[in-house]
């Protein structure tokens, strides 16, 4: 590396090529190419001829200078010029790059990476090896090789794969790794996130700095104290007054931060400024929300964005206390409290596992439209069940199919479904009951309306495409009152079910599963004519299709059948009219 102040050269020996330019000068002067030679007998007449235009025998000077400049520029470019070259790394030995990649490093990770890359490239130019030492422990299921001195190109590759982890840095472990390297001398550089969560952590950071100083002059790159990320503390459950706490490394003046309250759809409900104390370390934000909104808060976020520490998903924490304490309270910089616990904070009860493996379904999300699962081992196609208990309880394929076929319509805000309304909505439903939608002269029974399940009629659906087709009963002014998915509508219409003996495949061509005929009228009532008022010509997957809680295995009914509606006989006048 040749450093000339403003410009440096990575391969300075190539500049010796400039010495060849005079030879090039001589060569370039002989411009005209050798003429084509032709043996010609009639030379007698050509000897005295002189062509009127003559090719210049010498290169014009401007062309010569242009070519020489081109050659000189080529040589300079090959020599690898570097504008404003970084100064040489001071010290001997490899470049020891200690990178804090905990959660606090996430907000400005790209800048950290750029600094690390620049250092590694400088080491590459100087021919040094690089030791890359991330301080955050890797995820439990990944095996990270112990840090070792590698060529700079390999370290650059590894830098590209390095990312921030959602837990704090473990500097005590980093110190042990530095000692395990057994280096005598190195160029230590520490890209610190600037946070130490506890006294022990602070002491470990000090020990790491001492260990690095022993190897050489330590350079520390860290964010200024004003820019260190803040952390959001979720409000206490069940408290009369919701107060979100904010913690940050104390510095003055304290930044202007706001807590954003977001609803299930990601919409912002409120922005509450955070009031910091005198030291600027701790702040409070009082969230004043109506009671029903308080139950449905999906996320709390700090604004401007502070990374993962500034986000909280309270789950049911804000709802009325149901007993028991919340999850463990994470504290800044404590490895025992990873941020994941903060993000997926659970309620008092342990979550019920569902076969989809997604954990407890978060509030506010829409039901799945389709879930594809691999066929598990031991799956019996004929019975639609698995011999393995975990899968037997799942009946997941059926559940997902049921969900796909029975997408409920979104209800209008404030409307109730499932026939078990709040007290405040009872009057409306009572009106609906009085409307008594008529299907073939028979009124909707209260028992039917009270059934739970996605295929059941709903009231007061949100307007949307396809609503008219899904409407069973409308009010006189045209307001769709009772809606049901198409699969359920088939059940609402009169139709003669196909006779299928138990254990036979489903007659529906789209259904490849074995039908369970437990609830088929032909089995319950041996008479040929279905006797029910609302003959349900569908398979009994009501529980399995529940979007909120999948069917527990203890049900006596096998939850294996998809909604195999047998050829719905849709009639033009099937929509009931309110009397």
């Amino acid at each position: 590396m040749l450093d000339l102040g403003l410009v440096g050269f990575a391969q300075p020996w190539l500049l010796l090529g400039l010495l060849a330019l005079p030879a090039l000068w001589l060569l370039l002067r002989v411009t005209p190419p050798a003429p084509r030679k032709v043996a010609f007998p009639a030379l007698l007449f050509l000897l005295g001829l002189v062509s009127p235009e003559r090719t210049p025998a010498r290169t014009p000077p401007w062309l010569l200078i242009l070519r020489l400049a081109l050659a000189a520029l080529l040589i300079l470019a090959l020599a690898g010029p570097v504008l404003n070259p970084a100064p040489r790394l001071a010290g001997d030995g490899p470049l020891l790059l200690v990178v804090d990649n905990g959660w606090a490093a996430a907000p400005r990770w790209q800048e950290r990476l750029a600094v690390a890359r620049e250092l590694a490239q400088q080491a590459e130019r100087e021919g040094r090896e690089v030791v890359l030492l991330p301080t955050a422990p890797p995820a439990a299921d990944t095996a990270a090789p112990p840090p070792a001195a590698t060529p700079a190109a390999v370290a650059l590759d590894a830098l590209g794969r390095l990312g921030p982890q959602p837990w704090p840095a473990d500097r005590a472990a980093a110190e042990r790794a530095v000692a395990a390297l057994g280096l005598d001398a190195a160029v230590p550089v520490w890209l610190s996130d600037g946070l130490a969560g506890s006294r022990e952590d602070l002491a470990a950071a000090g020990r790491l700095a001492q260990a690095l100083r022993r190897l050489g002059a330590l350079r520390v790159h860290a964010d200024p104290p004003d820019d260190l990320p803040a952390m959001l503390r979720l409000p206490d459950q069940g408290a009369a007054e919701l107060t979100a706490g904010v913690e940050r490394a104390p510095s003055l003046p304290a930044p202007r931060l706001e807590v954003e309250v977001r609803g299930p759809g990601g919409e912002t409900w409120a922005r509450v400024p955070v009031a910091f104390d005198e030291a600027g370390g701790k702040g409070l934000a009082r969230l004043e929300l109506p009671a029903d909104m308080r139950n449905r808060v999906a996320r709390l976020e700090l604004s401007p964005a502070q990374g993962v520490g500034g986000v909280g998903a309270p789950g049911r924490a804000l709802a009325a206390a149901r007993g028991g304490a919340g999850g463990r309270r994470p504290r800044l910089g404590r490895p025992a409290a990873p941020l994941r616990a903060l993000l997926h904070r659970q309620g008092a009860q342990p979550p019920r596992r569902d076969p989809r493996g997604l954990g407890r379904r978060p509030r506010g999300r829409r039901p799945l439209s389709l879930l594809v699962l691999p066929t598990p081992a031991g799956w019996s196609r004929r019975s639609g069940r698995s011999s393995r208990p975990g899968w037997r309880r799942a009946a997941s394929c059926c559940a997902s199919r049921a969900e796909a076929g029975r997408q409920r319509r979104r209800l209008r805000a404030g409307a109730a479904a499932r026939g078990r309304p709040d007290a405040g909505r009872r009057a409306l439903l009572a009106g609906a009951a009085q409307a008594r939608p008529v299907r073939r002269g028979r009124p909707v029974r209260r028992a039917d309306r009270a059934r739970r399940g996605p295929g059941q009629p709903q009231v007061l659906a949100e307007p949307g495409p396809g609503l008219a087709a899904a409407t069973l009963a409308t009010l006189e002014d045209g307001t769709p009152l009772i809606t049901a998915p198409s699969a359920a509508r088939a059940g609402w219409s009169w139709s003669t079910p196909r006779r299928t003996r138990p254990g036979r495949p489903c007659p529906s061509p789209a259904c490849s599963w074995t039908c369970c005929n437990a609830s088929w009228p032909s089995r319950r009532a041996p008479a040929a004519r279905p006797r029910g008022r609302w003959s349900r010509t569908r398979c009994s997957t009501r529980k399995a299709a529940s979007t909120t809680s999948p069917a527990p295995p203890s049900r006596s009914r096998p939850p294996t059948s998809p909604p195999c509606a047998p050829a719905p006989t849709t009639r033009p006048g099937s929509t009931g009219r309110c009397a």
Binding site: P32, P35, R36, K37, V38, A39, F40, P41, A42, L43, L44, F45, L46, L47, L49, V50, S51, P52, E53, R54, T55
Partner: protein, 309 residues
């Protein structure tokens, strides 16, 4: 290159040329069969010409009747045709037509410059010239004339033997590569046919032709040229090298000098034609991209009796 090597290479060259010449002769014979037999005009008879089968349209030694004429004093009594004399008054003498064969000397330029050709589709100039010479020889031999190669070989001979002897001499002469017709003393009233490109300065050629004309022989000159020598179809910067150690000429822009070159070539041809005309000789030009039959017709026309022209 030692002298032995040079001789050996010349010998090999001549052998190769002899093979090529025999091949050429076959081609030439087939070519000449397409033309009628040529009767060479013999307006002047030289005393040295040996008697032959060719009638000279004059009285003389021969077997064919030519005319009766009145007896003059001094005629031998044995020359009187008594039968004719008995039919009328007076005595008549029977005269025969003089029959004699004419000798034609051919010369073909086989120097290095004649090996030029501007494209693979064209024959070299020497090949076309030799073909024409052989075709003409074959034509003459069938007409009863005698042919010989100028400057080489024995006396003119006719018949199949004469043609073969001519071809053999042509093969031997290829080694010599003489650019000019050799100053061979020719008998009076000999016919001479010269085939060459005549791309030399005309001074030496004029002296040589003057020598031939002074000896009383009449001749025909055919200039054989490659089309590239007429048109100079080159472009750009070209170094032209002579094929007979004439040096080299570097032309920077051939397209710029083409018009001047064509003009010079035309002037040279006109000077050559004027030179021939001054000697009473006849001149024609031929290009190798034209057919050989055309050139042979031209040659035959130049040798034909004046009455047939």
């Amino acid at each position: 290159v030692t002298g032995n090597d040079a001789r050996a290479s010349v010998g090999a060259q001549s052998t190769a040329f002899a093979g090529a010449a025999s091949r050429l002769r076959e081609t030439a014979e087939t070519l000449s069969q397409r033309l009628p037999a040529l009767l060479v005009e013999a307006d002047r008879v030289a005393a040295t010409v040996a008697p032959g089968i060719h009638g000279r349209r004059r009285t003389g030694m021969g077997e064919t009747f030519w005319q009766f004429r009145a007896y003059q004093a001094g005629d031998a009594a044995g020359e009187i045709d008594w039968r004719q004399s008995a039919r009328s008054r007076g005595l008549f003498v029977r005269e025969q037509e003089w029959e004699a064969a004419e000798s034609v000397w051919l010369w073909c330029d086989l120097s290095r410059s004649m090996s030029f050709r501007s494209g693979q589709a064209l024959p070299p100039k020497w090949e076309r010239a030799a073909l024409l010479a052989l075709a003409l020889a074959s034509l003459l031999v069938r007409g009863g004339e005698r042919v010989a190669l100028l400057g080489a070989g024995p006396r003119p001979a006719g018949g199949r033997f004469g043609l073969e002897q001519f071809a053999r001499c042509l093969g031997q002469a290829a080694a010599a590569r003489e650019p000019m017709p050799p100053p061979t003393p020719l008998p009076r009233s000999a016919r001479l046919v010269l085939l060459s490109d005549f791309l030399h300065p005309l001074d030496g050629l004029g002296a040589r032709l003057g020598g031939f004309a002074a000896s009383g022989c009449r001749g025909s000159v055919l200039q054989v040229l490659d089309p590239a020598e007429e048109m100079l179809p080159y472009e750009g910067r070209i170094l032209f090298e002579g094929m007979e150690q004439e040096g080299a000429a570097l032309i920077d822009n051939v397209g710029g000098v083409r018009a001047r070159y064509v003009e010079l070539m035309r002037a040279h041809r006109e000077a050559l034609a004027a030179l021939c005309g001054r000697q009473g000789w006849r001149f024609a030009a031929h290009r190798t991209d034209k057919g050989a039959e055309l050139a042979l017709l031209t040659l035959a026309g130049m040798l034909a009796p004046r009455a047939l022209r």
